[in-house]
């Protein structure tokens, strides 16, 4: 009796430990950041491309929050990226508001607001219906921009934007070194936010909604409120990514609202692995590097290469690259044990 009590006591401790320590940073989590810093020193001439990769990582991260954690399937996430991109674009072109960091805040608020309003209406639906409605939302926004091309610049966009030096000190150099570090710093902040949310009780409730929404209703969870909240946050982060996109490219066109953009970020995330935070890093980086490589290899047929990689990924790594690593990890752990 006493022995079994000790055993169950130990089990209790182990179980409690698992939950209390789960949110702590692990050493391996430093890896993507170290790589990002190493890239800065190793490829000093590819910093514009590097910044674009980091922007897409941030965009994919915002999608992971709603798709990977809350299970919201959307094909219109580019809407928020586009709102953010156009917020700083229009502010710079029409209002001469070119201070970069306040621009990010404005983009976050604008995209968050659109996320809140559309989410409040759309998140009563799930599955295919939601897929179509989110897709339609992005198209409506794009067409609104097209309708008022006198303001938005239409598909010709807003070219030749200039922004004030960062913090009033750091100006932008030819190889975009400043941009790269700036985007990396903003990504770190966003990542910290997302990570806190994911490991919070709220984040737990999101996984509950993903796993079984009927049960969530039955235990008294205000499901709609939770979904609208996370959708708003994800929209704001996507908006910041869009704003950085405009700032690093110094131009923006209505193609940011394209279905392509929504689909691409989803492909990146699924390629890397959903619901894992770092799937966004791996997926976006791998996709962008492959796209860059293939398009140099064959400017006309590069999409064939991307397509082939995706087919292989679906066949052999259905849970993404990170999922593949996890499976390999547990496979070797099994072999070591036996």
């Amino acid at each position: 009796m006493a022995a079994s009590e000790i055993i169950s006591g130990a089990m209790r401790e182990r179980a409690a430990d698992y939950l209390t320590k789960r949110h702590r940073f692990r050493a391996a989590e430093a890896l993507p950041w170290l790589i990002a810093i190493a890239v800065f020193f190793i490829f000093p001439t590819r910093m514009t491309f590097g910044s674009q990769v980091l922007v897409m990582v941030m965009f994919a991260l915002s999608l992971d929050l709603i798709l990977g954690y809350a299970g919201i399937v959307t094909l219109g996430h580019a809407a928020f990226f586009g709102i953010g991109a156009y917020t700083v674009g229009l502010a710079a072109a029409r209002l001469d508001w070119t201070e970069p960091i306040s621009g990010l805040f404005a983009a976050a608020i604008a995209a968050g607001l659109v996320g809140f309003v559309t989410g409040w209406f759309l998140l009563r639906y799930r599955g295919l219906t939601l897929l179509m409605l989110t897709l339609a939302t992005a198209i409506l926004l794009q067409e609104t921009g097209n309708l008022r091309s006198d303001i938005s610049g239409g598909y010709d966009g807003l070219p030749g934007l200039t922004f004030k030096p960062l913090l009033g000190i750091f100006d932008y150099d030819l190889y975009a070194h400043t941009y790269y570090l700036y985007v990396l710093a903003v990504l770190a902040v966003m990542f910290y936010l997302v990570r806190r949310i994911v490991y919070s009780p709220f984040g737990q409730a999101l996984t509950g909604i993903r796993e079984n929404v009927r049960r969530m209703h039955a235990i008294g969870s205000p499901v709609h409120r939770r979904l609208v909240t996370v959708y708003t946050i994800a929209a704001a982060i996507a908006g910041v990514a869009g704003a950085l996109f405009t700032q690093t490219n110094a131009y923006v066109t209505l193609t940011v609202f394209d279905f392509d953009n929504s689909a691409k970020v989803m492909v990146m995330l699924i390629l890397g692995g959903t619901g894992r935070l770092y799937g966004a890093f791996i997926g976006a980086a791998v996709y962008m590097v492959l796209e860059d490589y293939f398009s140099k290899l064959s400017p006309t047929f590069w999409q064939f290469g991307i397509g082939l990689v995706l087919v292989l990924a679906v066949l052999f790594a259905p849970r993404g690259i990170l999922g593949l690593f996890e499976r390999m990890g547990s496979y070797f752990a099994e072999r070591k044990r036996s």
Binding site: M11, A15, T20, R22, R196, Q204, T207, I219, G220, T229
Partner: protein, 255 residues
Amino acid sequence: MTAALQVERLNRAFGALPVTRDVDLMLERGARRALIGPNGAGKTTLVNLITGALKPHSGRVLLDGEDITALSQADRARRGLARTFQINQLFRGLTVLENLCMTIGERDGHCDNLWRSAGSKREVIDEALGYLDSLRLTDDALKLVRELPYGRQRLVEIAIALAQKPRVLLLDEPAAGVPSSESHLILDVVAALDPDIAVLIIEHDMDVVFRFAKEITVLVQGAVFTQGTPNEIMNNEQVRAVYLGQEGHRGGHHG
């Protein structure tokens, strides 16, 4: 004394088919009532109407005297109305412990917090482990729900309902799908429930019904056929004819 749960003249139809017809039902505090009836009598529909998963076309549901008919399912749950499902509705990709902690988190409003870590409230974890202990699930605390055998998943289903600290608990065939060699475990748990909780159990196994329930309501074709003590029901010729007669005195489960 107001009843813990009162259902008044509840009606619901699916298209032209009435599935709940003028149902009146009352659970006193600490009641142990069984709801029996042939397949298709509308037992699960009635549970769905009471919990708010379905809206009635007419009638009222009162919880401790408060009219909750217009409230959402989640609002009713937060007021102390819990249920288990005939077919497991669990967070299959999460650990058993997380299933419980989330329930407690939603019950106490912790899940509004976006910033602190979910594991930082030790009392939540301890309470969750307490429920697992009482159902002998502690050893499975860190297993994913989908890795558990079905019988143990049924226990998690009950553990979640208990973690809601309900005043009224609706058990929809708690032993359904569990081999009879294991079902006694679940029924022991049901028998040992807190005497303050009003319990309504849907069950096909007449041994369980007669052992557990102090009152029985018989539902036939969506309407209350009769109600009474187990003895009255057992000796009711009409019930024997429409229900016990055809269904017999058998155990096991069915849809």
